[in-house]
Symmetry: C2
DNA sequence: AATCACGTAACTTTGATTGTTACTTATAAT
DNA sequence: ATTATAAGTAACAATCAAAGTTACGTGATT
């Protein structure tokens, strides 16, 4: 079971954008994220629809932030990604008329629902501004680091 | 991202075993679970090492419960499966020296750890006996259902 | 001995994500 | 206008883990 790291990745991108003046191209972002420009465009397409980023074609084009960092939470970003599944384990949904399976599912679903709610509530509590603030704290503590990527 | 349903599946198996007198063969269990005997053996192998089930070879052999249902929790079963990953999303762990990534990871890890702890605590709270009790409640509410599989 | 059932290694299939190529469309600079 | 740049997107390939399958070995019962 492979871990979906799109949320982590897109936050990474947003924070990088926040540290730039001008637009960043998919090409640039892809190099920073060690992936492919098309992957970047795919991920950011959802965010653009939510008004979190803007894209411009042609010369001098690329991606820019289009939101107030203090007003956007991890939950907003998660939703913009299409609210992907949070839990790696789940119920077999075959034979739902089996009473044994119903009993098992009922017990597990309660635990799963609770955990998901906790996670989403945590996402609600963190703004992008809090992340950039944390980044600058780290930068201050290690001033020799540039904060941007080399490759 | 595919969901790991081994926990759900193995609980299903354990409850079925609890409803039987004699041993059940991998063949029988596989039919009930709509899967392959080898898959059953693979899953139950971990449980046998933990003493939750016993297996006997040869004529009249098969799988039997080897534990006190009231003393075993979902957590024990989960651990016997090798404590598979609970969360479907996670951090990109590339470029860990990037301060942006560190800030992102710190925020997410806190949320992830909390959700995992909640989930495991829920597992601790449910015994197999509670599951069988729930099954019998359902059976009583729908007495026409057999509780076992047809196939 | 013959049959039954688990033990296990090796391989195949499946399903979702991610990566890649190729091409189109829109914008800016010359 | 032409050229260069960069996103938009469809289609395809590569990857990877889980699940399924085959084949054969081991041990127990009859």
């Amino acid at each position: 079971m492979i871990r979906d790291s799109r949320l982590s990745g897109v936050l990474h991108i947003l924070l990088h954008l926040a540290e730039r003046d001008g637009p960043a191209t998919s090409e640039t972002l892809a190099r920073a994220m060690q992936t492919n420009p098309v992957v970047i465009r795919r991920i950011l397409a959802g965010l653009r629809e939510r008004g979190l980023v803007r894209s411009e074609k042609g010369h001098g084009g690329g991606w820019t932030l289009a939101c107030d960092l203090a007003a956007v939470t991890l939950r907003d970003v998660y939703d913009a990604l299409g609210a992907p599944r949070l839990l790696a384990i789940g119920n077999r949904s075959e034979a739902p008329d089996c009473l044994v399976e119903q009993a098992v599912n009922a017990a597990l679903d309660q635990a799963f629902d609770e955990a998901e709610a906790i996670l989403l509530a945590s996402f609600d509590d963190v703004t992008l501004a809090a992340l950039t603030a944390d980044f600058h704290r780290r930068l201050k503590a290690r001033p020799h680091a540039s904060g941007v990527h080399h490759g």
